[in-house]
Symmetry: C2
Subunit: 216 residues, 2 copies
């Protein structure tokens, strides 16, 4: 599959490398199109890796990943262009984090979410919120953690969620919980308010959530 | 130990029954002091169970539990009286839920929490936020779920958290994660925004979170 990757940070690079390893073609987009981190990634990742602007990456992708910082996501997606996103699955991995006051707050939460904001701004895209609740090392290699643990998924389009779940399974995810429509992204994004405190208690970011259920 | 229980709902009654079974004396407080649900509970729970007003329950308890509805908690605690809470451990189990719009929102979240509001309003109390992240049937009988799963705990007073952890262990809790100061209650309360969507996907409320970590 051709993948458009928006974002050149650790999450964008980690996901892009994994997707190329799995045989996909990935174009990593950035604001300028000649971002040095994107060029460095593409130089290492092989012939199925390329770079471009946000618009070029989005136009290239059959599926587009938003891995920009949450505070910058709307601007990045506008540069990607509605016409390049329309009809496509837009996998939203971003979190609306704000550390400007010295402690984490979310720029949107409780009665709205970044996932919903993106879906409203790009009604032609099929937004699927997922993978925002764990570090990138766990994201692309879930079997690094022992036992069962979960990835959550939210979105209004069931077919899009099914396709994203296939990609997650190809990463090694065995347990994917479909939380419901894109409104349920409020729950997945709110988890960051817990994650930040858990992270403070852990040696590193290699942990994740599991949901334990009663035997029926 | 003498326990003051504020709240007569399912959570207050479930916790009170468990605490009496474990040998504690419990006074269940209500606004009027002659709440029929409290009287019914006390009638069944035996000689170590009694009822009274919020103030009588708080004065009675060496440890006080807030199991009122989150939206009513501040009013109930004011009726309990600062002088009856000062110097005591106040276990805050409440969630600031608001369903008035037909979908869940929190009355406080992100940059503040009910736990913090209570701690600010009653600086003499040692507030410990815990047990607000699961249904009461799991709360008082964690071994009903298979495998490991966790209770979170937040509070500024380490001695108070240690004593609450002892109570939790007596319920059967094997894994209690101390998230940090009372500010970390933001994370535990935000979990309700996820819980409500998980609950919609589950046959009933008998589920809970676990945190899976990398082997060191």
């Amino acid at each position: 599959m051709r993948i458009g990757m928006l974002g050149t940070g650790m999450v964008g690079a980690g996901l892009s490398t994994k997707l190329v390893q799995l045989g996909h073609e990935v174009k990593m987009g950035s604001r300028s199109g000649d971002n040095p981190k994107a060029a460095e990634w593409a130089g290492k990742a092989g012939k199925n890796a390329s770079t471009g602007t946000f618009a070029e990456a989005a136009a290239f992708g059959e599926m587009v990943f938003n891995c920009t910082h949450g505070a910058d996501s709307m601007a990045a997606l506008k540069m990607a262009g509605e016409q390049n996103l329309s009809g496509k699955i837009l996998v939203d991995v971003a979190n609306p984090l704000d550390f400007s006051t010295g402690e984490l707050k979310l720029t949107v939460s409780n009665t709205d979410s970044l996932g919903e904001q993106i879906q409203r701004a790009f009604p032609g895209a099929k937004v699927v919120k997922t993978l925002n609740t764990m570090g990138v090392e766990v994201m692309v290699n879930p079997s690094m953690l022992p036992g069962e643990h979960v990835a959550f998924m939210s979105g209004d389009d069931q077919g899009a969620k099914d396709k994203v779940a296939e990609v997650l399974r190809s990463f090694g995810w065995k347990s994917v919980i479909d939380l419901g429509g894109i409104k349920s992204a409020r729950g997945a994004e709110a988890l960051l308010l817990l994650w930040i405190h858990l992270y403070g208690k852990m040696p590193d970011g290699r942990f994740n959530y599991n949901i334990v259920r009663a035997k029926q």
